[in-house]
């Protein structure tokens, strides 16, 4: 088991290194002068020269990449003209916008994103598996057909439509909830939950449709297995069959997918974050892309990559735990 984790961790590091090479190549080597971007629009040639020196942009590309890796693993020192600023590992450089350390920038934004991802995923699983099971138990009836259409509608509705509708109904018209503004969990858990409620629901409505369909098809597959037939032949009720004999096998792939989706949610919920004004990583990414703040973009892509890779490992472990026939190797 520990050998398994060691192998997977090593694999994860290699994957992330490969991602970093690609990202680095795309953003730093592609057309456009990073020095000009970092220096800003009103920049004289002397300042530009200083910036090039500070960022070692005159070095060969492989050396630049090496410095980048050094920064990630052991940290990096930057001269600020008057003194030296140390950037601890993992250091992804300084933002072109305000010279803040990228790591710090992201760390500030992570709590909001994690709050959104965790809550939305919990709700997604509850809604998705629930409706999936309901449509299996009531298959062939009106309920199933209605659920099939609803989940299709859920998949087809972008979050900026459903989110807007939720805001209008619950905040503007019914006035049941305040317009969401982010409150940290550590400051006030109750307010945190109330303010996160609508973003969770909006994201979960979209995601859960996918899970409902997956649960349904996976459940139907399990119900066609021989051991389910045995319990039918012994007069066990359909509900007991679904709950006791089919659920575990059926949700195993669903849970594995949830882990991976959670990983991509950590970086990929900019629409929901923008919609509800959550100061998360997604918003930061949008902003950084707009302002061509390369170090931040690179770092966020690395964070997303790391989250997906780690989530993948967790997903595999969960799958093996649910399905004993799968051995971790």
């Amino acid at each position: 088991m520990s050998l398994y984790f060691l192998r997977r961790a090593l694999g994860a590091v290699l994957v992330l290194l490969a991602i970093s090479v690609v990202i680095y190549a795309t953003f730093y080597v592609a057309p456009g002068d990073p020095a000009k971007l970092a220096c800003g629009p009103r920049c004289n040639p002397e300042q530009l020269r200083q910036v090039r020196e500070q960022l070692s942009l005159d070095d060969p590309v492989y050396l630049q990449y090496w410095h980048f890796l050094q920064g990630v693993f052991v940290g990096h020192d930057y001269s600020t003209g008057t003194g030296v600023m140390h950037c601890d590992a993992p250091c992804f450089g300084l933002s072109y916008q305000n010279d803040q350390q990228v790591t710090e920038l992201i760390a500030q934004r992570l709590p909001a994103t994690l709050s959104l991802a965790a809550g939305a995923m919990a709700l997604t699983l509850l809604l998705g598996i629930g409706t999936g099971l309901l449509s299996v138990v009531r298959r062939g009836g009106v309920v199933e057909r209605a659920l099939t259409w609803l989940t299709l509608a859920g998949i087809a509705t972008p979050v900026f439509i459903s989110g807007l509708a939720l805001l209008m109904v619950f905040c503007a018209y019914l006035e049941w909830l305040p317009f969401p503004s982010y409150v940290a969990l550590t400051d006030d858990p109750e307010q945190w939950a109330w303010n996160m409620l609508l973003p969770w629901v909006a994201l979960a409505l979209l995601e859960s449709s996918k899970y409902a369909r997956m649960t349904r098809s996976s459940m139907l597959e399990t119900l066609a297995e021989d051991h389910v037939r045995t319990f039918r032949a012994y007069g066990v009720s359909e509900r007991a069959i679904v709950g006791r004999h089919a659920l575990r096998g059926a949700v195993a792939p669903v849970i594995a997918m949830a882990a991976v989706d959670f990983g991509s949610m950590v970086g990929g919920t900019m629409l929901t974050e923008t919609m509800f004004g959550l100061p998360g990583v997604g918003q930061l990414l949008v902003h950084s892309v707009q302002t061509v703040d390369l170090p931040v973009v690179v770092a966020i892509v690395m964070v997303i990559g790391a989250a997906v890779v780690i989530a993948n490992i967790i997903g595999d472990v969960l799958y093996a735990a649910a399905d004993r026939r799968v051995a971790l190797r």
Binding site: H227, T230, F231, R232, A233, G235, R244, H245, R324
Partner: protein, 537 residues
């Protein structure tokens, strides 16, 4: 007269297929007296399993349509509502399925599964009492140390123990009828004999009725009072088991009986290998291990075997005896981990793929499953042509002509070149497999369970074909099978394997008539017989 336990009147079951319906059962009527035992026998597609499922109303969730009347202990199964049907299932009539591994929940302890079924039918039973009942029935069906083993999951049981556990589940609610669908088909003969013995005992003890579905007339002969022979969803013949077997009234029954391989029938024209026949293949101390270190398993252990030109060597053994591993090593689909393998004097045991290439054409194999061993997306002609194309000696036109010739040789229409595997029956597909093996003009063919997936009549045809081919082409055959009667029909020499080793070897007739090793004796004794005199012997 008492009411019958089962009364089926004019039952018809149709399954939706394509645009219309396929009739699996058509106008079937029969009765079973309380405590009686009836076997439904027939070839695949005869509708026998469909009838068994219909008795418990299990056709309902499959989209099948059933008409007529099915009464089980007074319950009208076809008209019953869900609640009544659930009371019948398990409580009145319990079912035992063919594949005991997939028929149990892989995640749950066997005792818990039995206890759950018990609690469904005995409302108000406490969990503790239901568990105790599960242990009791497991003990009754002969699971050693039942109170501890009740906590095991299905994968920790052997095939025979799993089938015992399924029977225990059936017993848990004291049903009046046991429906067993091919209960021993997936098991070895010795285990099969034990399970059939157990069923007989339980019937005598509890007085429950038995409906046994089987393709194996020998199994039926041993276990029931009456036979119902089915073909294409209809009853062909019905009567007391001895009467039907000894004096069948219908042609179809006679044909079916004639096709059953007999243990006492010698191979027509069997000949003991002569010392001057050229030695084709010689294995010395052949060994194969799987896995490494502590988990290493020795599948074949120090096996020495000689195959001479033009003879058939039968290899028999139960599952796990290493016979398939041995067969695959003989044609070098698998590399031995120890010992020596000589083909016409050349050591081929340690050769790499490139070194083996000259020998590939001469060593061929026919596989068990004619469905999965043919590429479903290639026409059968192309599949047969593949080994010829690889050899690269013939032109396209010559290859096409040779394939047609081969198709004809194995008894297929030469015009079938462009048809696909799914258009053929199981027996025809196995003929295609044989044609493919013949294509490169081999000297030796290893047949691994070539007929065990086929019905008896088809089995007899394929066995006959192999015998003819061997005689006409002077091939050497290694015939691997678990069915002792089939092996007898084709073999000159016999090898009995157990636990990766050869326990007995000799001319087929002397091994069958005077087995020396106790294991061989037990194996032969366990085979169910059709004839009374044989059974008495």
């Amino acid at each position: 007269m008492t009411d019958p336990l089962v009364k089926v009147t004019d039952l018809a079951v149709s399954f939706p297929a394509g645009d219309g319906f396929v009739r699996a059962v058509d106008g079937l009527s029969f009765e079973l007296a309380p405590g009686g035992a009836l076997a439904l026998v027939g070839e695949s597609g005869s509708g026998k399993s469909t009838v068994a499922y219909g008795l418990l109303g299990l056709h309902r969730s499959t989209g099948a349509e059933a008409t007529g009347e099915v009464r089980v202990a007074g319950h009208d199964v076809l008209a019953a509502d869900e609640a009544e049907l659930r009371r019948v299932r398990g409580g009145v009539a319990a079912m035992v399925f063919q594949d005991p591994l997939s028929s149990l929940d892989p995640y749950q302890a066997i005792g818990d599964q039995i206890a759950e079924v018990h609690r469904v039918h005995r409302r108000g039973t406490t969990r503790r009492a239901a568990r105790a009942r599960a242990v009791e029935v497991l003990d009754r069906v002969g699971i050693p140390d039942a109170s501890r083993r009740a906590r095991s999951r299905p994968h920790e049981f052997s095939g025979g123990m799993r089938q015992r556990a399924l029977i225990a589940m059936a017993l848990a609610c004291e049903p009046r009828l046991l429906v067993a669908d091919e209960p021993t088909t997936a098991l070895d003969v010795t285990v099969q004999a034990q399970i059939l013995g157990l069923l007989r005992e339980l019937r005598a003890e509890t007085g429950m009725g038995l409906i046994l579905v089987t393709h194996d007339l020998g199994v039926a002969a041993d276990s029931v009072d009456e036979l119902l022979v089915m073909k294409d969803g209809r009853a062909v013949e019905r009567g007391a088991v001895r009467k039907v077997l000894d004096a069948p009234g219908e042609d179809y029954t006679r044909a079916l009986l004639a096709a059953v391989p007999r243990m006492n029938v010698r191979r027509p024209g069997a000949r003991p290998a002569k010392a001057d026949d050229a030695v084709l293949l010689e294995a010395t101390g052949l060994t194969r291990e799987f896995g490494r270190g502590k988990r290493a398993v020795t599948a074949v252990d120090q096996v020495s075997l000689t195959v001479r030109a033009g003879e058939t060597v039968g290899v028999v053994g139960e599952s796990g005896s290493g016979k398939t591993t041995l067969g695959r090593m003989l044609v070098r689909l698998l590399e031995p981990t120890g010992g020596e393998l000589r083909y016409r004097g050349r050591d081929i045991g340690g050769l790499k793929e490139s070194g083996l290439r000259p020998f590939r054409a001469e060593l061929q194999m026919v596989f068990q499953d004619p469905v999965s061993s043919l590429n479903p997306r290639r026409s059968i002609g192309e599949s047969i042509a593949d080994p010829l194309r690889v050899a690269g000696k013939l032109t396209d036109a010559e290859i096409a002509a040779r394939v047609r010739e081969l198709l004809e040789r194995v008894g297929l229409d030469p015009g079938a070149y462009h048809r696909y595997p799914h258009e053929f029956s199981g027996g025809q597909r196995q003929r295609v497999g044989i044609a493919r093996a013949l294509a490169p003009e081999p000297r030796l063919i290893v047949c691994d369970e070539p007929v065990s997936a086929l019905d008896v009549t088809t089995q007899a045809q394929v066995v006959k074909l192999l015998g003819e081919l061997q005689r006409d082409l002077g091939l050497a055959l290694v015939f691997i099978a678990h069915d002792l009667a089939v092996v007898r029909q084709v073999s000159d020499r016999l090898v009995v394997m157990r636990g990766g080793r050869i326990v007995e070897e000799g001319p087929a007739d002397s091994v069958y008539e005077n087995p020396r090793h106790p294991y061989t004796q037990g194996l032969l004794a366990a085979v169910p017989r059709l004839e009374r005199e044989e059974a008495a012997a």
